[in-house]
């Protein structure tokens, strides 16, 4: 009896492993096809940016470039004040990133570590504000900044980042909640105050979440279109998103140049993501915990 049972078990395992292998191959096939379909538009973009204007119209879906025209990039980037726009965009994105990571990490720490009258209600209010669409508050904010004299300056695009965003605060609160409270005991004995405990003990541990927040903020501000559209008029202060919009209106037929500029605009986000991929995924994973 035991021998027969063993055989049956082996049979079962053998069958299972075959099934498992087919399963895996199938998944692999779906994943490979999926990534090709998803990345194809990007490859097409790269190919188009390197083609001559005539070749663009005859290539169809092919990715093969007969003649490489690297000078497309030079022509495209010198056709408008690219570097001024780049400087403005970088300034907005980097300042926002710094301000947002600091402020949301402070607020998240407060929600995670302290209990005070009203703290639970405020937390619920904060979650509820995620449902307020930005556009509802857009007009009054515009009026507010207009009264400050901030129209046609970079302030309205940077200052709001100093206020902790609800999603980011939530993310950091979830993270700080997981850390044991007695982590700071030694520091307290050394006479550190609440702020120093946050700065020296808790903040450094939050690196993966802070990276996630920073990447979201950077990419969000880098690609923001409506903000600059409303607040910026003068060429000197325009961002890449605005510049690309004007460029595409002016060079509708020069598809290769359009693709070259678009490629340059999206490249920093993709590079940033590649560099901090691990931390980004780790940070996101925290949202999955209840």
């Amino acid at each position: 009896m035991p021998k027969r049972g063993d055989k049956e078990l082996q049979k079962k395992i053998g069958k299972n492993s075959l099934k498992l292998r087919i399963d895996r191959l199938l998944i692999l096939f779906v994943l490979v096809t999926g990534s090709i379909v998803l990345l194809y538009p990007l490859f097409w973009m790269v190919a188009t940016s390197l083609r001559s204007t005539e070749e663009v119209y005859t290539s169809g879906i092919s990715l093969w470039v007969k003649e490489l025209h690297f000078e497309n990039f030079v022509t495209a980037l010198t056709a408008f004040p690219f570097f001024t726009y780049l400087k403005n965009t970088l300034l907005i994105a980097v300042c926002s990133l710094v301000l947002q990571t600091i402020s949301s990490s402070l607020a998240g720490y407060g929600f995670a570590r302290y209990y005070a009258p009203g703290s639970n209600i405020l937390f619920v209010v904060m979650l509820a504000t995620m449902m307020i669409p930005g556009q509802v508050t857009m007009i009054p904010q515009f009026i507010l900044y207009k009264n400050f004299g901030w129209i046609n300056t970079l302030y309205p695009l940077i200052v709001p980042a100093a206020f902790a965003g609800a999603f980011n605060t939530f993310l950091l609160r979830q993270f700080y909640m997981r850390l044991p409270a007695n982590l700071a005991d030694a520091a307290k004995l050394d006479g550190c105050n609440d702020f120093q405990i946050w700065l020296k003990i808790y903040l450094p541990l939050a690196k993966p979440v802070l990276t996630t927040v920073a990447i979201f903020e950077f990419i969000g501000k880098w690609n923001d279109f409506m903000g600059p559209l409303i607040y910026i008029n003068s060429d000197r202060l325009k961002t890449l998103a605005l510049g690309l919009q004007t460029f595409q209106g002016r060079y509708v037929t020069k598809v290769n140049l359009l693709m070259a500029v678009s490629l340059v605009v999206i490249l920093p986000c993709i590079i940033l993501f590649f560099c901090f991929q691990e931390e980004f995924m780790k940070g996101i994973a925290i949202t999955g915990e209840k």
């Binding site: 290539s59 607020a107 005070a116 300056t153």
Partner: protein, 356 residues
């Protein structure tokens, strides 16, 4: 005052430093004000020390909430009851703006609602289904899984105007990628963005390219589903479909809810695509709600009417979210979470006391 202050700052230091410093200093002043008030209250034993520290820590959020959300909400509610072009003073006109919208005084109001709803109904469920299915696949242990996770997320990094420009050319009649594909399999070319029937489905296809946002959140949620559940199901001989509907979906239902509400909000905020790719055309077939609002506010300077539009949008989103929440009682699975939540809350309360 702030203007003069920042002018002063830029006169004494490079512009870029002033840009960063001015808001920081302003915020600093606000925080210091809160701190001084709190500290006095604390010294007079009116409030506990932890209360003071709590409010100090959350002040970056609380101030932002008051200045950039609560005040604007109240202000735009008031503005929506006025006639106002930003030049002459506001004139109170009651609910006339709302009447104008609903009685057809704005020829794009109903059209923009129709377009936006049509887009949302197609785009949100498709994005969620695709996001969930791919997340389940990417949660398996397959060789090269890290590469695939990156590959599936990369399109999501392309957004804003660059995304619009890329897809405008993918949809191009003469040389676009999609028509190239159709021709390759023997079908005839389509006027994707110029055909009133195809323009919204086209924009939905484009939105599906960015399904990575719900996907990564699903992926994060999947990692929180206990593996024992799947092991138990395997022993019972459950099929993949059964596991999906009996384990994955119930365990993930709160995350589905989150993604659904965020998806709805996102769909109602579509602007850049419409502005850059179609400008509302052809014949208003892609006149999204936000495009109409933008034109009313910043092209025609009907600030009062635009505020009314904004509030109508807000109420629609609230109603839809409320509906989703209400129906979620039927399908969101809370049982284990509540137990866990209570335990965690107890623990953290202890932690807080100890910490204080």
């Amino acid at each position: 005052m702030i203007q003069e202050f920042s002018h002063f700052l830029s006169s004494i230091m490079p512009e870029s430093a002033a840009v960063l410093l001015a808001p920081l200093l302003l915020l600093g002043v606000c925080v210091i004000a809160v701190a001084v008030i709190g500290y006095t209250l604390m010294k007079k034993k009116k409030i506990r020390r932890t209360t003071f520290v709590f409010y100090l820590f959350i002040s970056p959020w609380l101030l932002g909430f008051l200045i950039t959300q609560l005040y604007p909400l109240a202000f735009s509610l008031y503005a929506s009851l006025t006639k106002w072009d930003m030049v002459s003073p506001m004139k109170f006109i009651g609910v006339d703006n709302y009447i104008k919208a609903f009685s057809g005084g704005d020829k794009w109001f109903y059209q923009s609602l129709k377009v936006t709803f049509y887009y949302a109904i197609l785009s949100v469920p498709l994005q969620l289904i695709l996001g969930l299915l791919v997340a389940v696949l990417l949660n398996r242990k397959v060789r090269g899984i890290r590469f695939f996770r990156t590959a599936f997320y990369i399109p999501t990094l392309v957004s804003g105007v660059a995304l619009a420009v890329l897809w405008k050319n993918i949809f191009n009649y003469n040389f676009g990628l999609l028509n190239g594909l159709l021709n390759a399999v023997g079908l005839s070319s389509q006027q994707w963005l110029r055909d009133p029937k195809l323009v919204i489905p086209s924009l939905v296809i484009m939105s599906l390219w960015g399904f990575g946002t719900p996907m990564v959140i699903f992926l994060a949620g999947l990692q929180g589903v206990p593996k024992e559940l799947y092991e138990a199901a395997d022993i019972d001989g459950a099929t993949a479909l059964q596991k999906m509907f009996k384990i994955t979906l119930p365990q993930m239902s709160s995350i589905v809810l989150y993604n659904l509400i965020q998806g709805i909000i996102g769909a109602f905020q579509v602007f850049t695509q419409a502005y850059t790719m179609t400008d509302g055309g052809p014949d208003g077939a892609s006149m999204f709600y936000m495009l109409n609002l933008y034109e009313q506010a910043f092209k025609k300077f009907n600030m009062g009417y635009a505020s009314a539009l904004a509030w109508i949008l807000f109420i629609i989103i609230l109603l839809l979210s409320g509906l989703v929440f209400k129906s979620s009682g039927l399908w969101v699975y809370y049982e284990s979470e509540m137990k866990e939540g209570e335990e965690k809350a107890k623990k953290s309360r202890k932690g807080r006391v100890r910490n204080a």
